[in-house]
Each structure stands twice: as structure tokens, then as C-alpha cells.
């Protein structure tokens, strides 16, 4: 199955539309409801980061999401922006977190919800996430 591409203007009002479209595509790909909830949050986080990067840089070009089922039975989502990029914080222990900070929780959620995530710099920032479509497949992969 080929990827579907969605281009949204760099405006926060379109983040909800982006997660809705990806959610419907994931359901059509047979993703179980619990995983769809995880996917919705992770897509919202990455899209929010991308839109905010464009707004901070006064970048008018769209944020591009591409998504679809993979041959390996996963559902993949790539979110690309043209902003200056960032170096994602490494995974951190809860007890070391500085709770005076109100930002920075998004990357923690993406890492916690996606089965696999890559952050790459490529003419901006590219976040590539993969999700098992079925929770049983995910458990089998973890057991292997």
C-alpha cells in the first residue's frame, strides 16, 4: 500500500485535522482501537512540534505528513517540516525530570507511544514513527 500525503498550513488549527485524517487511515488499515489512541497522540505531538517550528521561523511552506501501512504489517507516519530542526532530548528517567518546565513532554510521549521512532535532520526535521497495527503482533515482536 502506497503512502498518502497530507500537506497542512503551518497553523495550529490544522493539527486536529491532521490527527483525524491519520486516525481514519490507521483504522482502515485495521489498527486496533487502543493503538489508534496512541497513534493520535503521537501524531498530534509531532505535528504540533512541526507547526511550531514553522511559526517560530516564519516559514510559510506546509508541514507534510505521509502515512500508510507497511509491508511488515506496521503503520508508518512521517512528519517533515522545513524549520531549523532540534536535537530531541534523550529518554529520561521520571525522577530526574525538571517539573518546573511546562514544555518538552511531547518527545517523551512520542517515544513512549510509538513502537519505533527516528528523528532526522533533512532540510528541516523529519520524524518517522512506526506502530504495530495489532496489539498481538506488537506483543509477539516484544517476546521474540
Amino acid at each position: 500500500m502506497g503512502d498518502v500525503e497530507l500537506r497542512i498550513p503551518p497553523d495550529v488549527r490544522y493539527v486536529g485535522l491532521a490527527r483525524l485524517v491519520v486516525m481514519v487511515a490507521a483504522r482502515q488499515a485495521g489498527m486496533v482501537p487502543d493503538r489508534v489512541e496512541d497513534l493520535k497522540i503521537a501524531v498530534s505531538e509531532a505535528t504540533t512540534n512541526a507547526v511550531n517550528a514553522h511559526r517560530r521561523a516564519d516559514e510559510q511552506r506546509p508541514v507534510v505528513l505521509s502515512f500508510g501501512a507497511t509491508a511488515a504489517g506496521q503503520f508508518a507516519v512521517t512528519i517533515a517540516d522545513a524549520g531549523p530542526g532540534f536535537d530531541p532530548a534523550p529518554p529520561e528517567a521520571h525522577d530526574r525530570r525538571d517539573w518546573s518546565l511546562e514544555n518538552g513532554l511531547g518527545v517523551t510521549l512520542i517515544r513512549g507511544l510509538a513502537d519505533d521512532v527516528e528523528f532526522r535532520h533533512h532540510a528541516g526535521m523529519v520524524v518517522h514513527m512506526r506502530f504495530a497495527v495489532d496489539i498481538d503482533d506488537r506483543n509477539a515482536a516484544l517476546d521474540a
Binding site: 498530534s44 504540533t48 517539573w99 513532554l105 513512549g112 507511544l113
Partner: protein, 113 residues
């Protein structure tokens, strides 16, 4: 779905009922509401999230901001949440250790903290 916000007094507590979706687009309204409540002297706040359909890190950040505001007045901010999909994001981010989270509004109102 749009965000809905309604508040009322329950004894010495102020209950803020939040419904709908809390994301980067709607979270500023929640932030404004919390700032307004604290500005009006409401320092014992219970945020009832039973009707929240979606919450992401922007919403979490606003709740952390609200907690800091009430604490600067020796106040409290607790949450009512019984939806697993929302509790999960509090667990992943470690915020279950930061907020008192209750299953029901009655339980939150009985908590003497």
C-alpha cells in the same frame, strides 16, 4: 470537537469541568481559564477531566502551569480522570507523581489534601 470549560464552587473547592479536545489550538483557552480562576482567588481547584476526549502534551503543560500558580498561593490542583487512554499519558510522562489523580469527583472532593 471544541473545548468546553465550566466552573462551579463545591464547598471550599472550585471544580473546573473540561470537555472535548485539549491540544495546541484549544489549550490557550484552558490556560486563560486557570489564570482567571487563580486571579479571582480560587486556589483549591479540582479539574474534572471526565469529559475530555483528547489531551496531549500541550494540555499537560497547561495543567502543570496551573499547578504552579495555585501552589504559589499555597493552593492545590487535583484531577479527576477515569479514562485509561488519558491516564496513560500521565503515566508515560511521570505526571502521576505530580498531580493527585482521582477516579471520581466525590473522591476528589473528599480528599483533605
Amino acid at each position: 470537537m471544541e473545548l468546553s470549560l465550566n466552573h462551579r464552587k463545591e464547598g471550599d473547592r472550585t471544580v473546573l469541568e473540561v470537555g472535548g479536545e485539549v491540544d495546541v489550538y484549544t489549550a490557550p483557552k484552558l490556560r486563560e481559564k486557570l489564570v482567571e480562576l487563580v486571579g479571582d482567588g480560587h486556589y483549591q481547584i479540582v479539574v474534572d477531566m471526565t469529559k475530555v476526549e483528547f489531551l496531549d502534551s500541550t494540555g499537560l503543560g497547561v495543567l502543570v502551569g496551573g499547578l504552579k500558580r495555585v501552589r504559589s498561593h499555597d493552593g492545590t490542583l487535583s484531577l479527576v480522570c477515569n479514562q485509561e487512554r488519558i491516564l496513560k499519558i500521565f503515566r508515560i510522562t511521570g505526571l502521576t507523581k505530580v498531580f493527585p489523580i482521582h477516579d471520581s469527583l466525590d473522591e476528589a472532593l473528599q480528599d483533605s489534601e
